[in-house]
């Protein structure tokens, strides 16, 4: 007996030594440069023109062709990188902005960018560049940016307005967020200051909620927002709610919880109401359904009859992080005035395989859906199916159209920028 105890102690020590030896092995870089080959339709190629930039979020192209990248984490104290292409590579030629965030847009000689509570702008000089020491003008401040759905994507129209997504700091406006059995607040008090898209003036300083207007409501978190010049309307892509299966297993099975609700691409009019948190869109039944927190039973519409519906619907939890309209002439005709949507990829499908992690093309005619969406760029995860998001080698996050009509895609994991071109 005694010898067994001794033996065990001896072994415990040995295995401890081994465990420590292995734990202290060479430190791997956290996000090694990924060896990822994107899959694209015939005739298209994707070139990684920049790598290791940082935590890339949204991107925008200036009239002179420079690419502006917003970072979610400061790099050398800067939150905006300016890239310029030459010889198939893009180099960082400038960086500015001492704030991290997501939103970036360029319009009428100004670069607009956001952190999680504020929007700034920078005047561009005669050469169409931002001077290294150019002062920021704070145009919007004091927006709700609690830690959930806190990013502030932005878009500008052609009439001097800027639109800002204010995501709901909540999953479904329960009294206790994400707690099983907690009732939905009715009315949802968050909608006064979040869960929608707000409109402000693009050139007025220090605006707060009282200077802006709630342009559209009932949108949980519109990560993609973009002005469509062709039809002169705002479009947005919403991240739908989580947890239908986890919180209501008596109504939804695992599969339904993974597929529902649809991620929505919406045409947003002044005064639109897309129904969050009371309603969600079911892409199988093609209608808005009453959320279970508000008495829904997965079939009933109730108060959701007449609520605004999307232009296009996608499988649940794919996480549409950016949206642009293709107005170039380099890609084949069918892409003209259609939309590209970057899906950051799911987590709320576990334990089923994760999905999304791609860039989708949505054919549009006159701003209305014209056929089924198709996966345009895939392979970002860098391998077969994944169980959890941290296994994805890269994740598409931002989109912009290059001066020559190519498509730029930003990656939030390794800081890559791809340029997708078409060669007949």
């Amino acid at each position: 007996m005694k010898s067994v105890a001794l033996k065990m102690m001896f072994l415990a020590v040995i295995s401890l030594i081994f465990a420590t030896a292995f734990a202290n092995g060479p430190v791997k870089p956290k996000h090694p440069r990924a060896d990822v080959t994107l899959k694209l339709p015939a005739g298209f190629t994707a070139t990684p023109i920049a790598q290791d930039l940082g935590k890339n979020r949204h991107i925008a192209v200036a009239p002179n062709g420079d690419l502006y990248v917003k970072l979610e984490k400061l790099k050398n104290g800067k939150g905006i990188l300016v890239l310029r292409e030459s010889g198939g590579k893009a180099k960082v030629v400038n960086s500015f902005g001492d704030f991290a965030g997501t939103g970036i847009a360029i319009k009428n000689g100004y670069v607009y960018a956001s952190n999680d509570q504020e929007v700034f702008r920078y005047k561009m000089n005669a050469k169409g560049e931002v001077e290294p020491n150019q002062k920021a003008e704070k145009i919007i401040t004091g927006l709700i940016g609690r830690r959930q759905h806190e990013a502030k994507p932005i878009a500008l129209d052609n009439a001097g307005n800027i639109y800002v997504t204010i995501g709901a700091p909540s999953n479904s406006c329960q009294t206790k967020d994400r707690e099983k059995g907690s009732k939905g607040m009715d009315p949802c008090s968050l909608l006064d200051s979040a869960g929608g898209i707000w409109q402000f003036k693009a050139d007025k300083l220090n605006q707060t909620y009282k200077d802006g207007a709630r342009y559209a409501t009932g949108i949980r978190n519109a990560m993609g927002i973009e002005w469509n010049d062709e039809v002169n309307d705002l479009y947005a892509t919403q991240h739908g709610r989580d947890g239908l299966f986890q919180m209501f297993p008596e109504l939804y099975n695992e599969e339904q919880g993974a597929e529902l609700p649809a991620e929505e691409m919406m045409r947003v009019k002044k005064g639109s109401d897309f129904g969050w948190p009371y309603c969600y869109y079911d892409q199988m039944q093609n209608k808005k359904i009453l959320a279970p927190e508000y008495g829904g039973d997965k079939m009933k519409q109730g108060r959701c009859e007449g609520v605004d519906t999307p232009v296009a619907a996608f499988p649940g939890h794919w996480a549409p992080n950016d949206l642009i309209f293709y107005t170039g002439s380099q890609f084949p005709e069918k892409y003209r005035n259609g939309a590209f949507v970057a899906f950051h990829g799911s987590w709320n499908r576990a334990p089923l395989k994760q999905k999304g992690y791609n860039v989708v093309f949505v054919p549009l005619q006159g701003g209305a859906l014209n056929g089924k969406y198709e996966v345009f760029a895939d392979g970002f995860i860098g391998g077969a199916d994944i169980d959890s998001p941290d296994e994805a080698k890269t994740r598409p996050c931002g989109l912009a159209q290059a001066a020559d009509g190519s498509l730029y895609i930003s990656d939030s994991v390794t800081g890559t920028i791809w340029k997708v071109t078409y060669n007949k």
Binding site: M8, F18, E150, W347, P389
Partner: protein
Amino acid sequence: MKSSILTVTILFIAVVFSSAKNNPAQDALKLSIERGKKVYDNTCLACHQVNGSGVPGMNPPLKKTKWVLGDKKVLINIVLKGLDQEIEVNDETYSNVMPAFAHLSDQEIADVLTYVRNSFGNKASQVTEAEVKKLRDK
């Protein structure tokens, strides 16, 4: 050379485990881990994922964090009361809310935390039903 030492060590460990077969404390731990996995799969997996890796920027990982391996009281309270504060794990900040799971029984909370503390590369002592009860009653 290294691999042969490793093989020997693994063999020895196997011997230890088999000789510990009849150890009631070990049995209790094993059973608690088994029960805890079920609780994890039903209640925690959606956010913290199959492999405990969490979701970048949203739900933190449960791999060797100071909460998982640290003070059991703090850990038990996270499950009993939830957590909604800015936390940083391995240089990343996480932004979602962790709801309270007070509807789980003391035994279920003890089991799931024992499972977490002995999975995903973690190795730490068992959490007992009594430890959970004490904090819940406070």
